[in-house]
């Protein structure tokens, strides 16, 4: 049964939910006060100290407004006043593992080619129509979900939903497109990828980290690509349509406006079942060093991956701050050390990706191949230093400020807002939980940062290092480090043959 807007209001999550709290901007009067304080009219401005900062408050967002759009179809709305575009994601809670028990090429291609053409629009017509009306339509399949996403200007939302509905319910999976996708993927795996040092490094670290026994580490199989047929995709598409569904809507609109437009779509959707988590993951238990020789290149691509806290775990917030300080920002210790102090690299950046069943911390940078040992030594040193001592108060302060600013920028555009909301929905969160997480960063202190860093980055934590560069020089550099490496080729890296 479809819940009315009034029902939602009765739950306190509808139109009478608090509006986005822009009143929490820094009061402009405060800046006016600073002006008089700073002695305008003197010979020059006071440059003897850093001017005072009025810290921003943490933006408050309303909870999702939840309605039942149809049996088995949950609707979530996040109103975002003032943005130009509306986002609509239809999330079918059935994915690759539900269909095939594994991540397969057929299920990947099903998600990837749904949005290419539909019963109403051929491939060229679809591309032209979406360009004409500024509609961005995308589809993909994950381990446990299939998603079709629309971002459209509010005035073109009706047209966008027509496309979304046709793509979702009546995709045609053109043979020509399937063949093209197969050809392109084979070309990447066999031809272009093995000549690209960055692609080699990415693959080597992914497959070096994840065993082929887990869906996270499934190796590409060129023969499997060649075997995929249109019927395989059609069958999988039909299977996911029976899943329970969540429809997420974000933008400058209400359920009163959105619901009538969604009716045609949701009346064909809805199923029973439970949304399951992705596959479990067990990180490697030993350190690995994987080296790939690419003769003649002046630089070496370096990556290192470690296990990190999972999404929602107690360590997540503290580790996010640790990442910011270690390598997650321009000001980080690793970038400061390798770039700003030693001029060894154009930039060293780390990322922290927490999923429900696994967390990853990955650092990537490049340097002159004959500086490999020096640069790698510095990374090991910084990892140890963080694991032993955690962060300073100053580092805690700026890393927290960065994350708060990112949070406060969540609603800058309609696309940004939808991306953030979709992320929360993926992990069973909402704007309230997400804000609590940001607020909770304030409770992390130096001792806590050290405790978390020691647990995840300590010397016993398995690390997978990948080095892609001129083999002759790399061997000397590995000798200088006293490290033994597994040597593989670029082709092996791309195919996960290690």
């Amino acid at each position: 049964m479809i819940l009315s807007l009034m029902t939602a209001l009765a739950l306190g999550q509808g139109a009478d939910a608090p509006e986005v709290s822009f009143s929490q901007r820094v009061p402009l009067e405060a800046l006016a006060g600073m002006e008089t304080e700073d002695a305008v009219g003197r010979a020059g401005p006071d440059r003897s100290h850093v001017p005072a900062v009025i810290p921003p408050e943490i933006l408050t967002l309303p909870a999702f407004s939840e309605v039942e759009l149809a049996p088995g179809v949950r609707g979530l709305l996040m109103p975002v006043p003032g943005v130009r575009k509306v986002g609509v994601s239809v999330i079918l809670h059935k994915g690759q593992l539900d269909l095939d028990g594994d991540t397969t090429v057929a299920s990947y291609l099903t998600g990837w080619t749904m949005d290419v053409a539909s019963a109403r629009w051929g491939m060229a017509e679809m591309s032209s129509y979406t360009d004409m009306w500024d509609l961005s339509v995308g589809s993909w399949m994950e381990q446990r979900r299939t998603v079709v996403k629309l971002v459209a200007p509010k005035e073109a939302l009706g047209r966008g939903l027509e496309v979304l509905e046709d793509v979702l319910l009546h995709p045609v999976f053109p043979e020509a497109e399937i063949k093209r996708q197969i050809k392109e993927n084979k070309r990447y795996l066999l031809d272009n990828g093995p000549t690209d040092p960055k692609a080699i490094a990415r693959s080597a670290v992914a497959y070096g980290w994840a065993s082929p026994e887990t869906p996270w580490g499934r190796r590409p199989d060129v023969k499997e690509w060649s075997k995929v047929r249109q019927d395989d995709l059609i069958a999988r598409h039909q299977a996911v349509l029976s899943a329970p569904v969540t429809v997420l809507v974000t933008g400058d609109l209400t359920w009163d406006e959105a619901q009538p437009m969604l009716q045609g779509l949701v009346s064909h959707l809805g199923g029973e079942g439970e949304a399951l988590p992705p596959a479990d993951f067990t990180p490697p238990t030993e350190r690995r060093v994987i080296a790939v020789s690419t003769p003649g290149l002046g630089q070496v691509q370096l990556m290192v991956r470690l296990a990190a806290p999972e999404r929602g775990s107690e360590d997540q917030g503290a580790f996010e701050l640790v990442n910011q300080v270690l390598g997650g920002s321009f000001l980080s210790r690793l970038n400061s050390n390798l770039r700003e102090e030693k001029g060894l690299t154009y930039g060293a950046y780390s990322s922290y990706g927490p999923d429900q069943t696994r967390g990853l911390w990955t650092l990537r940078f490049d340097t002159a191949v004959d500086k490999t040992a020096l640069a790698v030594g510095q990374v090991e040193l910084e990892l140890d230093r963080m694991a032993e001592g955690g962060m300073t108060d100053e580092e805690l302060g700026w890393s927290r400020s960065q994350l708060i600013s990112q949070w406060n920028g969540t609603l800058q555009t309609g696309s940004d807002a939808h991306t953030a909301a979709a992320d929360w929905v993926e992990y069973g969160e909402d704007p309230i939980v997400a804000r609590e997480y940001i607020v909770g960063l304030g409770a992390v202190d130096v001792a806590r940062s050290q405790e978390v860093a020691a647990r995840w980055l300590g010397p016993d934590a398995p690390r997978v290092w990948v080095m892609v560069g001129d083999g002759e020089v790399l061997r000397q550099q590995l000798d200088a480090l006293g490290w033994q490496a597994e040597w593989i080729t670029g082709d092996q890296a791309l195919l996960g043959d290690l």
Partner: protein, 445 residues
């Protein structure tokens, strides 16, 4: 000009107007202010009229080096305090350099306005005092690493090679933005100081502030923080330069690549030229996804090419049109014929209103997306001002694109994309023989 502000794509609807205030400070700095109270963010964008075009021989790469040095300390902002203080206040920053200009941009919470203005004014007024030999040497090394990382990537040298072919060495665009390694490594403290004195001054810059500000208060803070930044005169416009050659040129470069790539380019028009809109739209009609001519013909339908693109670039002094395609097996002479067949089709099968409408709408949507964020709007206001003298230029510029007809598209293709003016670059795998015949090896400086 629209294309110089953004990259491709999107729709109609929405408003291109950008209300603003403009002022000139006593020291000659032009400031543009615009309110946007949707979020707490403020964007600051400073554009100096200095790019590769302003570098003299021996200074090649210096404007780009300053993109690094401007964050390395000034008289009252020691060492890397620029980043430390701005980041602690919740801000972030970056910069970019082109043939024509250098832009420095920050975003920060409104309560950090004074920190941002303190930092920006200190480096505009007093960078020289903070510039040490150590900083210089370090950033020279970082820039060299930056260049190597491009060159080690497949096709990472192609655009530098194209520059060599398109412009004579004495042309302001005749060298690359990053500069040759030898020159970058050869910069001295004195030379860098002189470059800064000549170019990084209020009279050669435009600053915009967009976001959660109240313009009168913001103007007061700008006047306060920039009050001790001396007026060092206006910039030095480039008045004379050689025209790019309008004769055919063929170059070839071998690289560690798997596929052959062909670049066909033609010298065209500078920004503001009457033909600029039609050339921009022509690029979109040729290559903007399914349903566009080059992409359908070579990539989607016949699958002769593994990638295709078309681009119209209009800079201050000159411009060029570029068609690019990569192939796995096809010989490049055959690919060239196929590309010309598509280009010739612009005369035999005239561009339709539908094709033109799609290209226009894509462009307009891109613009609307671009100016939705405070930083995008801040950049657009400055770009408009330096290009047209009017900060809120997008509606007027859009009118130029609306006036383009299908006949204009055919005309600009026939006028500018002629075989006798074509500059081609074949990039082939090491040892391969598939280049265009007669191509000369391109030597990068």
């Amino acid at each position: 000009m629209l294309l110089t502000l953004l990259s491709l794509h999107a729709f109609a609807g929405g408003d291109l107007a950008m209300p603003y205030q403009i002022h000139t400070l006593d020291n000659g700095l032009t400031v543009i202010l615009a309110e946007d109270h949707r979020t707490d963010t403020v964007a600051l964008h400073v554009r100096y009229d200095v790019g590769a075009k302003d570098e003299r021989d021996g200074e090649y790469g210096c404007a780009h080096l300053f993109e690094h040095l401007m964050f390395e300390g000034s008289a009252n902002v020691p060492g890397n305090s620029f980043d430390t203080w701005l980041t602690a206040a919740g801000g972030e920053n970056n910069a970019w350099t082109s043939e024509d200009e250098t832009a420095y941009h920050m975003t920060f919470p409104s309560g950090a306005l004074d920190v941002a203005l303190f930092l920006e004014s200190d480096r505009m007024g007093f960078l020289r005092e903070g510039l040490t030999a150590e900083n210089l040497a370090n950033q020279q090394s970082v820039v060299v690493q930056e260049r190597y990382r491009y060159y080690d990537a497949p096709n990472g040298q192609d655009y530098d090679a194209l520059t060599v072919l398109l412009y004579p060495p004495e042309h302001p665009y005749g060298h690359t933005v990053l500069g040759p390694v030898a020159q970058v490594q050869g910069f001295t403290e004195d030379g860098v100081h002189a470059f800064w004195e000549r170019n990084y001054k209020p009279g050669n810059a435009v600053l915009s502030l967009v976001g959660n500000i109240e313009p009168e208060q913001a103007l007061g803070r700008l006047r306060y923080w920039f009050s001790d930044v001396a007026d060092r005169g206006a910039g030095e416009p480039i008045l004379e330069f050689p025209e790019p050659p309008s004769t055919q040129a063929l170059g070839v470069m071998e690289d560690e690549v798997e596929e052959r790539t062909l670049y066909l380019s033609w010298p065209t028009v500078p920004t503001g030229h009457p033909d600029e809109p039609a050339l921009d739209l022509l690029a979109s009609i040729l290559s903007d996804g399914r349903g566009t001519r080059l992409d359908d013909e070579l990539y989607y339908d016949r699958q002769l090419a593994t990638s295709t693109s078309a681009w119209a670039s209009a800079n201050t002094l000159s411009g060029y049109f570029l068609v690019e395609a990569s192939v796995a097996r096809l010989k490049l002479p055959k690919l060239e014929k196929e590309i010309h067949r598509v280009l010739d089709g612009l005369q035999t099968a005239a561009v339709t209103e539908a094709e033109l409408d799609r290209a226009r709408r894509s462009l307009r949507s891109s613009m609307l997306d671009h100016i939705e964020t405070p930083q995008g709007r801040a950049g657009a206001l400055v770009a408009c001002y330096v290009t047209t003298g009017e900060a809120d230029c997008l509606d007027a510029d859009w009118a130029r694109y609306q006036a383009v007809t299908p006949a204009d598209i055919s005309r600009v293709a026939a006028t500018w994309l002629t075989p006798e003016r074509q500059v081609s670059l074949s990039v082939i795998p090491n040892g391969d023989k598939g280049a265009l015949p007669g191509a000369q090896v391109v030597v990068l400086p």
